[in-house]
Each structure stands twice: as structure tokens, then as C-alpha cells.
């Protein structure tokens, strides 16, 4: 019993701070909820545009240009037809009228952001961003549009294909740090399968198990003591 208590205390010394961080960050996630964590309070998914006219560049031309393609999709983004070409390990986006690589202007990105927003605000600030610095597990160029609503919603647009890359709000900076602390991935990529997190996860498991064992043993010894005292009382009687 003593050695179990010692082990419990030793493990507590090791992980007490991280356990507090896990509980506090867990409470933060629960308190804010999915929508606020993702910054999507004022999000609306815009309906896809109708393809009214065939593009200037045919699908066969694109297929000949990318012989390794698995599929080619034609759709329209902000009144411009776009080919989305799925290759075995990547995706390529092409302007279906010019045949050139897809590019996004600030005006197009702004128009897309506005069609995916239903809040009361207007755009207060717009800037070009490196997506890897603002959203986990994303790379490449993008645009950020900050709205004047009470949430200070930010909409990120991916410049490589003019799609919504993600949302943010006034809690995003704290949320990002809470994820870093909860997952112990201080790079901000929100990878919870890292070695540090795995190791501490196991230590916590041993720590909780030892705690439960201590309670069970204490309960058992208390029962023994009670039984013994009852026996003694009976003998005395």
C-alpha cells in the first residue's frame, strides 16, 4: 500500500501541471462549443453556381494535358468556370476559359467570403496571408477578411482554388493555444499523435489506475477494521 502511495505521489509530481492543463483546456472547449471554436457562428454555405455555358477549353484537352489524372471536374466559381483535376497525389486547378493555372484576385476572394457570411457585420479589414500561419494543416497563399460583428469573424479564402479555407473569430488565438496545450503539439498543427502526448497519456493512465487502486484498498481495509471491531464487541459481550 505504501509503495502504491509513493508511486502515485511520484507520478503526480511528473504530470500534475499537464493534468491541470488538460482539464482547463477541456473545459474551455466544452464551454465554447463546436461552432464558436470553429468561428462558424455566421457561416452559411453558398449554393453552387449553375454551369450555363460550356467553357472555351474542352475536357479532352485537359485530359490530354494531364494523362495521369484520375478525374476532372468542371464547375463554376464566381462566374468563372474552373477545372479541378485530381492526380494520384495532388490536385490541380485550371481556368476553364484560358487553360491557365487558376489564380484568385482579392475581389473574387472578397465576393466568395461575402456569399458565405450571414452575420450583421461588414468587412473591416482584408489582407493576404500564408495559410500555414493561421490555420492548422493547411499550406499556400490565401486571403483573410475580418468582419465587424460581435464575434469579429474572419473568413479565410484559399487562393489556389478560391474555396473557403476556414473561419476564425476573436477567440481563435486563445483556441489555438488551448489546442497546442491540450494536444501538446506546440507547432500549432493540432497533431495529437505525437510522442510527448502519447507518453504523458500513458503516465496519466497509470496515475489514475494507482489512485483507483488506493481507494479500493482503503475501502477494503476499512471494512476489515469494521468487521474486526464488531467481532471484538461480540467477544466482549
Amino acid at each position: 500500500m505504501r509503495s502504491l502511495l509513493r508511486l502515485h505521489r511520484l507520478l503526480a509530481l511528473l504530470i500534475a501541471a499537464q493534468v491541470i492543463i488538460w482539464v482547463v483546456s477541456g473545459f474551455y472547449f466544452s464551454w465554447l462549443g463546436h461552432t464558436a471554436l470553429a468561428g462558424e457562428k455566421y457561416r452559411i454555405t453558398s449554393a453552387p453556381q449553375l454551369l450555363t455555358e460550356p467553357p472555351a477549353i474542352g475536357m479532352q484537352t485537359i485530359a490530354a494535358r494531364y494523362p495521369e489524372a484520375i478525374s476532372i471536374e468542371l464547375h463554376q466559381i464566381m462566374n468563372t468556370p474552373q477545372y479541378s483535376i485530381v492526380l494520384p497525389t495532388s490536385e490541380v486547378y485550371v481556368n476553364a476559359n484560358t487553360g491557365e493555372r487558376w489564380s484568385t484576385s482579392m475581389a473574387t476572394a472578397r465576393a466568395l467570403a461575402l456569399t458565405n457570411y450571414v452575420g450583421p457585420g461588414v468587412i473591416a479589414a482584408e489582407r493576404q496571408v500564408d495559410l500555414s500561419t493561421v490555420l492548422p494543416q493547411l499550406t499556400g497563399e490565401g486571403f483573410a477578411f475580418t468582419f465587424t460583428d460581435n464575434e469579429q469573424t474572419v473568413i479565410y479564402v484559399n487562393a489556389s482554388n478560391t474555396t473557403i479555407a476556414g473561419f476564425g473569430n476573436r477567440y481563435s488565438a486563445i483556441t489555438d493555444w488551448m489546442f497546442r496545450l491540450h494536444f501538446m503539439d506546440y507547432s500549432g498543427q493540432r497533431d495529437f499523435n505525437n510522442l510527448l502526448n502519447r507518453s504523458l497519456g500513458l503516465v496519466l493512465l497509470f496515475f489514475c489506475s494507482s489512485g483507483i487502486l488506493i481507494i479500493v484498498r482503503q475501502l477494503a481495509s476499512r471494512r476489515q477494521r469494521l468487521q474486526r471491531s464488531k467481532q471484538l464487541t461480540r467477544q466482549d459481550a
Binding site: 491541470i20 473545459f27 474542352g58 475536357m59 484520375i70
Partner: protein
Amino acid sequence: MKRTRIRWRIWHRRLAWLVGIQLLLWSISGAYMVWLELDYIRGASHTNAKGQQQLLLEQAPKTIASSAQVLEQYTDVTALTLRRLPTEQWVYQVDRRYTTLLVDAVSLESFTLQQADIVALANDYRTSQSSIDDAPAVRLLTEQLPQEVNFAALPLWQVTYSDLLNTTLYIDPASGVLVSTRHDFWRLFDFMWMLHIMDYDERADISTWWAQALMLLSLVFILTGVSLLLLQLRRLGRRFHA
């Protein structure tokens, strides 16, 4: 000093009765989730949602219709996708405002995927060739979705392999697109996620009041434990100096 320690210990024990089991469940579920790679759980290591059939238009028996011809024949189109099915058929997936249909890329006639097509597609989506089963159990779900794909829309093809992990692929009947991959490690992961967030019904709500209450109680419990530890360390320090 001794009295304070005893008081803290009593509170630590009392709170342990309240939160001990849930803390153990959090640690078990957390350990399981961090030890299994997320990509593996999502099925990325044994299925490829893109499929593996390259277009290879030059191998098509007849000339493929152009997108202009498709748009002439079908209205309300929002997206057109050219693909080659594993059954060596070139198709256009025509996404319309409210429906999706598959159209033969040569004749432009729409058609419905049959059970044999679904098996061929499922085998194509699977990347772990060794465990491919030629005759998986195939079912068209039309009335009720299983809990593991409750986000999807009906109807839905369910293809279950008799491998070690009971891998199940869910395929959209209209487009043949892989909707989801499920296997026993995913199912256990989902169960652990349920225990972790304490939403025993939908397994999606992270903001239940009982989870928040347990977290606050756990925080108090941990703080009593830390206080006990500090008192113990102080006692040891005094003994060492004496």
C-alpha cells in the same frame, strides 16, 4: 499542520469517489485516441477515396462526348466530373441542383449502378489488396442508417468485408463516390470519443452540462491533490533539514 493535511486528504478522498471513475475513463479514452494514428482511424491507410482508375481517355473505345454536349442535354447542372469506372466504363457524374446522376460518357444516357458495379468500385477504393474479398456482403440501405454513418443521406450502399477489422465501405448509389470507411478500430475510437466527451447519445455534443460539472469537480479534486503533494514535500523538506 497535520490537521490541515488530514483535512485536505479527506476532501481528496471524497472527491475521488465522485470523479475517480470518469478521470480513469478520460485517461483510457485519451490514451487510446492518441496512440492510434488518426489517418489510420479515418481509413486513409486502407482506402483511397479518389479511387485508383486513371482516366486514360485514349483507351476509350469510342469518342467521349464533350462537356458542351452534356450541358446541352442536361439542365440545372452545377458540376460535371469525368471518371472511369473499374468496369472500364467512362462516365460523367452530373451534379444538378438537387440530384446527382451518372451518365455514360459516350452515349450520354443515364444509368444506375448495379450491385456488381458497387463491388468493383469498393474493391477499387480499397488499397490493401491482400485482404480484398471477392464476395463482400453488399446491402442497399433505404430505410435506416447505422449510427456509424448517421450524417449521410439515404439510400446508401453498404459493402462489408470479412477481414480482421470488419471493414465496411459506404458508397453513394447516385455517384458511386465513397462516402465513408469504417472498421473495428474506428468503431472503438468512436466509443472512446463518446466516453471522452460524455455525450452518450449522438456522440457529437462537447458542451453537455454534466461534462462541464465533472470537469470543474475534477479541477477541484486535482487541486486538493496538488495541495497534499506540496504539504508532503514541505514535510519532507523539514525532516531533511532537521
